[in-house]
């Protein structure tokens, strides 16, 4: 090699060394995530149980909505999570695009399905709430519509990632899409102002101040539970993605679960 007639050669040892350095982030993260998942999962389950207990046993019925309002303990956490997860996804995507870090792209693609599912739950539970409250499963209200669009944004991200086979191109293309899409989130959100809106505003105004506390407590606890659940699932998914993407590296081959 060098000047003159160049010769391609394959230096196995060197490749290993470089790979070790380059992939060190996923390496450590893989193990760390594995250790953290049970903690998140267990605390999510416990908090969910507590939250639902307070929500159903302690908090009394609402004088206007009767028992139906109890959907709130899953509806609001799901709605809030679906929006935050999109922003986090876009953040990871931007990191991955700018600094070319592999792990961020993997995180972004691990978040997407969870976000989409929360968006779905929000829509579903909202629809179930809407039937007794508004007499219709669905109205074309700004809040509802924007949630639907959010679901489409998630699906677009997933579909684009799935249609590109080359993982590097898939990561970069869908990252760009996520970033462009995040510009849309506030725009959609402000469109509430141009629409007559049936949906509840952002502050909880239930009557009966004494119950207010229990309701709020229950909601915040289930919200925390959903956060923990989301983190646990995303971490579990990203571990599989790391395994899949890095399957040719030595550190993967040396993992006990691969060897055994």
């Amino acid at each position: 090699m060098g000047d003159g007639t160049g010769v391609a050669y394959f230096d196995g040892v060197k490749k290993l060394a470089i790979n070790w350095f380059k992939y060190s982030a996923p390496t450590t993260f893989y193990g760390l995530a594995g250790k953290m998942i049970p903690w998140f999962a267990v605390s999510a389950a416990i908090l969910l149980a507590i939250g639902l207990y307070i929500g159903f046993a302690v908090a009394p019925a609402d004088y206007q909505q009767g028992e139906f309002y109890r959907i709130i303990f899953i509806h609001v956490p799901a709605s809030i999570l679906s929006m935050f997860l999109y922003l986090i996804l876009a953040g990871y995507a931007a990191l991955g695009l700018i600094f070319n870090t592999r792990l961020s792209a993997m995180m972004a693609s691990a978040i997407a399905p969870t976000g989409a599912l929360f968006a779905f739950i929000s829509l579903w539970t909202g629809a179930l709430w809407g039937k007794p409250m508004w007499g219709a499963w669905w109205v074309w209200d700004a809040r509802l519509t924007s949630e639907l669009i959010l679901l489409f944004l998630y699906l677009g991200f997933i579909a684009l990632h799935a249609s590109i086979d080359d993982p590097r191109r898939a990561d970069r293309a869908s990252a760009l899409l996520a970033i462009v899409g995040s510009v849309n989130v506030p725009i959609i959100y402000f469109s509430v102002q141009w629409w007559n809106t049936l949906h509840q505003g952002s502050t909880i105004k239930f009557s009966g101040t004494s119950m207010h506390v229990a309701m709020q407590q229950a909601m915040f606890i289930t919200l925390a539970a959903c956060w923990l659940y989301a983190i646990a699932v995303v971490l579990a998914r990203v571990r599989s993605i790391i395994l899949e993407r890095e399957r040719n590296t030595t550190w993967i081959a040396e993992l006990p679960e691969v060897k055994g």
């Binding site: 519509t145 489409f152 799935a162 249609s163």
Partner: protein, 227 residues
């Protein structure tokens, strides 16, 4: 190595197209999501008044079904044309019409059926009554295969032409209008308390007619496009 029969070949074509659809799973989903999205765009454009929305529901759903099956039709032959598989199909030792029928069947399974299954969910969003929904679904079940078959002719004729997608719609949409009219007519009839049977049986008759004639016509169109 053994020789394959006519049905063997048709099944091969169907299996192949389904396999390809599985490999490009995103495609299948996107057609469906396109359908959902077109349907959801209308309330955004027209405004949220449920009364108007309920009246337009059947029309919007049928038009969206029409458009999304048009769009997915663009791909019916074009991939095979571009990579040369279509040439090889024309050299197959069996009738081209039957192979075409196989391709159409696969296309309907992949793009028509999910659409029919999705329709009730969307109908509910427009607050359609249950009976109207039922008629809508039967109509779509009879109508979407016709759309696929008529569309196949257009897809064959526009093969390899630029702007195929739009040109295709242009050729095919007028032919699909009867389907649209009977389909929405059936829903309209049932919502005004009449019987939808006559509309639906007309759709059935169209289906038979299409089944008999379109594969052959499509095969001829393919021959012309290959010259």
């Amino acid at each position: 190595m053994k020789k394959s029969s006519l049905t063997g070949l048709v099944m091969l074509v169907i299996r192949r197209d389904l396999l390809l659809a599985m490999r490009r799973r995103a495609d299948v989903l996107t057609t469906l999501i396109f359908f959902v999205m077109v349907v959801s765009l209308f309330p955004l454009g027209v405004g949220p008044e449920m009364d108007i929305l309920r009246k337009m529901a059947a029309g919007v759903l049928w038009v969206a079904a029409l458009l999304s099956s048009m769009l997915s039709l663009g791909r019916l032959f074009s991939a095979d044309y571009l990579d040369g598989t279509l040439e090889q199909m024309m050299l197959a030792p069996q009738s081209l019409s039957m192979l075409v029928l196989g391709k159409i069947a696969a296309h309907w399974i992949v793009s028509g059926v999910p659409l029919v299954l999705m329709a009730p969910v969307l109908g509910v969003q427009f607050d359609m009554p249950a009976q109207a929904l039922g008629v809508l679904i039967i109509g779509l079940l009879l109508g979407t295969p016709i759309l696929s078959m008529i569309g196949a002719i257009g897809a064959a004729l526009t093969l390899g032409l630029r702007g195929g997608g739009v040109l295709l719609s242009l050729l095919v949409l007028p032919l699909c209008i009867p389907v649209l009219i009977f389909g929405t007519g059936a829903v309209g009839a049932v919502s005004t308390g009449l019987s939808a049977v006559s509309h639906l049986s007309l759709l059935g008759a169209l289906l038979m007619l299409a089944l008999v004639s379109t594969p052959w016509v499509t095969a001829q169109a393919l021959r012309i496009s290959m010259e």
